[in-house]
Each structure stands twice: as C-alpha cells, then as structure tokens.
C-alpha cells in the first residue's frame, strides 16, 4: 500500500478551478480514484451529465488534465464503451501504440436510474472500463430530487417531508449488488472516510482486465444539510452504522472489507443531517425504526453473502 507521501507525487488529473460546491464530496472522490492510475498511464475520462460534469467543463475551461468526454445524461456506460472499442480497433490496426485506461463517472441519477440500462449493457459486453458511481443519494444537479439511491425518510424536493408523508417512503436500490450480478471481474463499494480502502479498490478496478464498477458514497453538504467541513465524520458514520458497508466482489467472491467493532445506531448518522431532521420529531419514531431494520436486515444478508457469521455487532 502506497503512502500519502508517495501518492501525492502522482500528478493531479482533476485540477483546481472547477466549480463544484465548496466541500463537495465529488471533488474528493474523483481525485482519490484518479490518483490510483499510475503516472505514466494515459486516461480517458467519461462523464454522465451531472454536478461533476457541469462544474468541471464550463467552456472554455476544463479541470481535466487528461482526455475527457461527456455526451449525455443516461449513456456514460455506452459512450465510454465506444471509446474503448475504438481503442481496441485502433490498436488492432496498428494505428495506436500508447496504453490507455478508461474511467467513467456518473452520479446516482445517471447510474442507479436513467443510465442503468446503458451501464448494464456496457458491463455485460465486457469492455475494459471502470465505471464509478458517485452516489450522493439524490439528483443534486437539478436541486435535490429523490432518486432510487435516496434512503428511506430523506427529505428531498420531490419526496418532501410533509404533514402526511415524512420524506421518501421506499428503501434504496442496492446498485452494488445489481452490478455484482453482472458477474464482472470487479465490483467494490467504498466511502471517502476510509481512503486506504477506497484507494485499494480503485487500484484493483483500474488494473483488472475487463469491466469494473465502484460505488462511492459521496456526501453532499447542500443536499444532506450537514456542516460542510464535517464530510469525513458523516462518511465515517455511514460506515460505522453499517448504512454503507465496505465490501467488494472479486470474480464472484463476496468479501467484507470492514466490520464495525460495536453497534452504532442509525440515529448517529441521521442526526447531523438536515434531510433527516423531521424524523426526530415526535410521531416519526417509526421511520427511524424502519431505517434501522432495513440497515440490519441488509447487513445480515451481506454477511451471509460474504461467508461471515450473520450477526449484528455487540451493543
């Protein structure tokens, strides 16, 4: 495992001057992923329409220190697969000598929802690409609308916490498991707070032959309404409460990467966030209970898949 001292010497592929919000998780996550690509490798980055795309390539400025392509919202998988197909064709015909890596980024909107078909197709076809989902759990680019990645109870502009309905009613889609069901060589789920784990996963994803998928929880200060500098605490709480478990599926083998030592109730993760504030009002206890049950149930199922004893951490 490389040290930060060594990693800091890899040239930045996402430079400053982009216009993401101050403290945006996407900036941190994207830098971490690209940092796992060796210095002498060439990269083509693909991007779905979304916060990352609109904030990094406002003509005539680009924050990408490598080749970059965006074409539309729902097709980052297809677009990058076209780039990769061109690479193979040109290599085969002897028109290209350099080696390239292909990494596509999409938000949860462009990945869980509108772009799922395109992503699924690209993964099934076996292109040698990495697809990274920067999951901030709602459509932040258009102003915090619910997505299928939005957790139960969250207050968004299309699942507002109202007098009758306390935020989003449905549980999150388990995209990481869906991607694992594609039987691709590498699937990983990571969080910003555990940067070493994230780095290792990015490295594996970039270096594996064939398609790889990373799902990274990317906190959004605006949409989640927490105190901006506390991004790492929020990320850490997501992991410790088992809301966002860290695991990977390598050649079909499920592996848990981190097991919290003690049982941290989900309230700890919900409390600092404005989007869950209404849940702490009298009468909404049942929603928190439902979230906790959902988290526990998924955790046990995950442990089973990973060949671990299905038990909750000691309280």
């Amino acid at each position: 495992m490389a040290t930060l001292k060594e990693l800091s010497k890899v040239p930045e592929r996402l430079v400053g001057g982009h216009r993401l919000c101050a403290g945006c998780g996407h900036g941190v996550a994207t830098r971490m992923v690209l940092n796992a690509v060796e210095e002498n490798e060439h990269v083509v980055v693909g991007c779905a329409t979304g916060c990352l795309e609109v904030a990094t390539t406002i003509y005539p400025f680009t924050a990408w220190n490598c080749s970059f392509i965006h074409s539309a919202f729902e097709n980052a998988g297809a677009t990058i697969s076209g780039v990769e197909a061109a690479y193979r064709a040109l290599k085969k015909k002897g028109k290209l000598t350099e080696n390239f890596k292909f990494i596509a980024f999409g938000g949860d909107g462009g990945t869980y929802d509108i772009g799922l078909q395109s992503l699924s197709g690209a993964m099934e076809r076996g292109h040698n690409i990495v697809y990274v989902c920067l999951d901030n759990e709602a459509y932040m680019n258009t102003g915090i609308q619910r997505s299928s990645a939005t957790p139960i109870g969250a207050d968004t502009t299309t699942s507002p916490a109202g007098k009758v309905i306390p935020g989003k009613q449905q549980p999150r889609k388990d995209l990481t498991a869906i991607m694992a069901a594609h039987n691709i060589p590498y699937v990983g789920q990571a969080a910003l707070s555990n940067w070493q784990d994230l780095y290792k996963k990015a490295k594996k994803a970039v270096e594996v032959e064939g398609p790889a998928f990373l799902n990274i929880l990317s906190p959004c200060p605006r949409g989640w309404r927490y105190n901006t500098p506390e991004i790492m605490e929020i990320s850490k709480l997501a992991v410790e409460t088992r809301f966002w478990p860290l695991y990977e599926v390598e050649d079909g083998k499920w592996k848990l990467n981190y097991k919290p030592k003690k049982y941290v109730p989900i309230e700890e993760f919900l409390k600092p966030q404005g989007r869950f504030k209404h849940l702490f009002k009298p009468g909404n206890e049942h929603v928190i209970k439902a979230i906790q049950e959902d988290v526990d149930r998924r955790w046990l199922a995950l442990l089973e898949r990973c060949g671990e004893t299905p038990e909750l951490p000691p309280r």
Partner: protein, 392 residues
Amino acid sequence: MKTRVALTGNEAVAHAMKQVNPDVVAAYPITPQTEIVQIFSSFVSNGQVDTEFVAVESEHSAMSAAIGAAAAGARAMTATSSQGLALMFEMVYIASSMRLPIVFPVVNRALSGPINIHCDHSDAMGLRDSGVIQLFSENAQEAYDNIIQAFRIAEHPDVRLPVMVNLDGFITSHAMDVLEVLDDETVKNFVGEYKPEDFLLNAKNPISMGNLDLYDFYFEHRRQQTASMEAAKDVIKEVGKEFAKISGREYGLLEKYHLDDAQVAVVVLNSAAGTAKGTCDELRKKGLKVGVLKPRVYRPFPHEEIKEALKNVKVIAVLDRAETFSTNGGPMFQEIRNTLYDLKGDIKVVNYIYGLGGRDLLVEHVEKVYNDLFDLKDGKSLNTVNYLGLRE
C-alpha cells in the same frame, strides 16, 4: 473494375460497409434494418473485416457508442430505422454538435403509433433539424453509392458532420435489385484513411469534448454548424464528381428528369422518384411535357439548385411521405414552397401526402397527380394539400 450483381438494398449497404471496413460499428437490430446488422456481424465473425462490432443494448446506446468511438478517433458507424432512430434522437443532435463524422444508414420506416413496420419518411424527417447531412437513395445502387461517398463528405475538414443515408424500408431494403459494385481496392482508395484532427486517444494532446456551453458561446457553435452545412453543399458536389471517375455515376444535390421543357413537375424523394420517372416516361411518349425533380440531399437543403431546376416550370406538385401535422402540408412541401417564393412569378405549387405506413404508390397515382397539375395549369382549382391512395 465494376461488377454487376443482384443484391437487396440491405445487402448492398452491408457490402459497402464491408468494403469501407470501419473501425467501430455499434448497432441494434430493428425491422427493416436488421439484415444490415446481421450481415455485417457475419463479416466480423468470418474475419472479412477487422471492425470492432459493439452489439449494444439499444439504439440510444448505439449512437452513444458511435459518438464515443468517433470522438476517440475511430471511423464509426451505426444503422437503424424508425423507432430506433426516434430513440437515438437525442444523440443524433449531440453527434452533429460534437462534429463527429459518423455515417449511418437509416432504412426508412413509419413511426409508431399505431405500430407499423413499413416504409415512410417520418423517421428521417423527425431529425431534419438535428444538424446531420441527409442523403436519400432511390434504389440499392444509390444506397451503395451514397454510403461510400458519405465517408468522404462526413470526414471532409470543411464539414465534419454525421451523414444519414436513407433508403426505403422493404421497397429498397428487401427488394433484389441489379447494381454495379466496385472492387474492394477501388473503394478503399476512394474512401481513404481517416485522419482525425481532434481525438481523445491523442496521448500527446489530451482534449476535453462535450463541454458545458452556456449563453456566452453556444450560439457561436451553432452558427459554425450552419456554416459547415453550407460548405457541405460544395463538398457533396465535389465528392460526387470524383465518384463519377471511379464508377461512371455522377451525383449532385438533386436529379433533374425532363425538367428543361416541362410544363408540370413532381418533386419526390427516394424509391417513389423511380415510379415518378417511369410514369413521366409514359406520359412523355404521349407528348405531355412532364418532369420529375428528385432531391438527393435533404439536409443541407439545396435551395439554389432547386430554384434553378424549377425556374421554368409553372405548376408543381410536391409529394411527401411524411406528415408534419401543421395542417398545411408535408415537410418537403414547406421547404419547396419556401424556396420558390424567391422566384416571385406565378408558380403554382401543391402538396400530395402519399405512402404513409407503406401504402403503395402506384403509377396511376402519379398519373393522377400529373392530370391534376394540367387541370390546375388550365385554371381549375385544386386543394393545397391532397392525399394519394387514401380512402376518401
């Protein structure tokens, strides 16, 4: 060297694709285009081409992957019909705005609903304002020739736009026709090697493509696209002349058929132009001064050439195989009437909608049109918009 062969329209298109041997083809099957994808896949699996064939999961992804491939620096193609083109709609605009020279045959088919698999031009006309060059083909020969020329047009540095090559579903795509094909080497030399200027896989000069372009620059980029369309008119003619040298068949922006002394004329696209020309021949034998104008290029629209071609014809019918639902005629009628306005004079121009959903256009229909036009010339009245072969 030229060889006479009997091929269906789809086979002719696939044959042209094989001879061009593009770097990447990303396509999804849809009736009546399916054969193109199937035949081309067999070329790939038999090693007759070294193309990367990307069997995408939808037409939206087909054009998206073609965009990725073309942006990467490859010669890229796709192919579709009808609903497939409709699903691609968004990406066709993006391909043209990114100035990517993607060539794609469209086997014309009616748009749902109700669902129908047969020929009309609603699919192509739906994308007439997307910034792609649109070529139309009367028969398998023209479809074959257009595909080959399309690469030279699309990739020309003055143009750099996608080219859609249209041929009529079933009528052309599935009908066996006799055509002359060129030998592989001739096609290869004519098309030449693709040398992209701006491409993602340029290790020395990385590039950002598809960037966010707001009110301070978008307008200028749109204006550039229009200028490229303007330049495309000359390029299409130049390429057509060069193509004549290897094939003996010259192509321009349109084909004039007995227009010089025609008193009345019809304007019509694709396979129906053949039927119109046949009818014209019969009527000419009877001494009637009738003519046909067949636009080959619909985008860019050849306004100047059409004005020149029709300047002596006083009564004109435009035949449209698509509706606009403007309640004032089909798409080509609007273009032609707009163009003829500049000629001032006392030109009469009417519209006929025909052949929707594959309804056959018969010789009698065209004869009726010519008769109507003579009546109109003699002072009788006629609706502005008329229907051919409709139960009325």
